[in-house]
Amino acid sequence: MQMARSGWREVERAVSGTPATSPQSNGSDRPSGGVSGRSAHGQAPVALEVRDAGIAFGGVKAVDAMSLRVATGEVIGLIGPNGAGKTTMFNLIAGTLQPDSGAISIGGARVERETAARRTSRGLARTFQIPRPFAGMTVLENMLTAVQGQAGESLLGNLLAPGRVRREERAAIERAHELLDFLQLSRLAGEEARVLSGGQRKLLELGRALMAKPRIVLLDEPAAGVNPALLDFIIDRIAAINAEGITILLIEHNIEMIARLCTRVVVMAAGRWLAEGRPEAVTADPRVVEAYLGGAPA
């Protein structure tokens, strides 16, 4: 989805313009950030850090020496034109792909060679650009699938500790219902996920991610294809999630969502870090406008 020219103007109108942080403005080609696991944004420790990550598919460098740093409790937007490598970045962070080079840390621990499952156990959860519900399962069981560390997911646990399995499952069901209430999906709890609309699928993905009790959530275009009323609701829910201390990295083309949620935006183009700063500042950066409207720089 190409970001519309009017969308950028909308943000520029909505917020006051300050210069975007850029390699020139901060005197470095690296994104801003502190040292020794502390963020430059207040005293919050770094929740997620990517340093010089790169991956190539054949001759195409989908992500090239990309770095970013997210402090605990931040909502960071990752934006860029189509093909910029944003979703590939998510795949690298989540463990769906392993980088050819560079380092990825979650809570200070290096994870770039760990499996996706291991990273989830470190408190990382993600959603997909195109929602991937388990279509033949109910909404409630979609949610329950995301629970971590249940004894009932082990063969021996099922056979030897049925009481614990039952207790954990009951607790998980209660939590799933609470989250479905939170996301206004309760009435669909018993329905197969295949009947959900596009927007409801987005909400279910969000709910599933939250069931894992994550500390960091990667949201891949949560507003794509949703109507304005639902967009407002999704923004509200993401803000509420963040208010509970969950760090969020957000890929989004919707300017309103970026402007309302993000404290900082990282811009990618052609697989590389292009700019970084407050949303209103980034929109004023001519290189960002060029990347969106005039083709990505080589």
């Binding site: 069981e141 699938t145 099922n158 499952e169 209660e174 197969e192 894992a212 509970e244």
Partner: protein
Amino acid sequence: MIDLVGYGAFFLTIALSYAIIALGLNVQWGQTGLFNVGVAGFVAIGAYVSGLLTTPDATGRIGGFGLPILVGWLAAILAGALLAYAVGWLTIRLRADYLAITTFGFAVTVQLAALNLESLTGGPFGMSFIPRPFASAAGDPVRFGLLNLGLVALVLLVAYFVVEHLTASPWGRVLRAIREDEPAAVSLGKSAARFRLQAFAVGGALMALGGAVQAHFIGFIAPDNYLPLLTFQVWTMLIVGGSGNNRGAIAGSVVVWALWAVSASVIGQVMPAGEQARGASLQIVLIGVALCVILLLRPRGLIGERRTVSRHVAGARRGERSGTMVATGRETPTP
């Protein structure tokens, strides 16, 4: 009447032994989506392992060891699970058609090994004198048949409850999630390789148990019993009964075996003596047609898959909880 009871017991005993095998395939395919086309190989392993351990000492081949039938069955379960785990470990990253080709190759290898390792398996002459449960009652065919039917039904019942307990649980839910969308399941922190391996091993163990039960009921096994046709039969049983449903696997086994038995009888009556062998091929055609009809009329099989996986969800009632934050699930900090 006595003949009918005797035949009915024989028919059901065979059908229920197939049901054990179909339960195994249901764990692999119905629950997890693992396309195992080497069912016959795992069935053969169970039959030969149990036969080798329980037959009396035989000249011209290694063993037998004359152990009790129960030991043979337990060893078959263990051998099936271990072999499935090993095969799975080598092939588990393969998807759909590649896994099918590999497992088919495995089954052919097992069958050829049984045919050629004469010193271990009896080769083309097979393995005879496999002890039959309740052999002392063999003089009374009806009693013998009913006792064996009772035993096989008991084994099936235990297998069913164990598999149902495992699949209608969070473990089974993860299997279903992997079947539905593996990358999404992985993104939720589930190790797809581990769960797929476990499902493959549980399924292999059940197939081997079914093979062992059959071997001890018939009393004789030979490599020709484990041709790819067996795999086709078991697949048909599962699809007809309802893939993803353990009861469906059992129902499908009885229905398809009935179709198989009736068609054999009809062909035997109708076809001239010289054409009997050729007529037997019609059985396979008939089963294929039955499969097509079921897929057209009831795509989910006779007993479709349940919407809810976990038994805990089916019976859950919402209670009251408070004092937790919604998104994180952590306790609300007290001011």
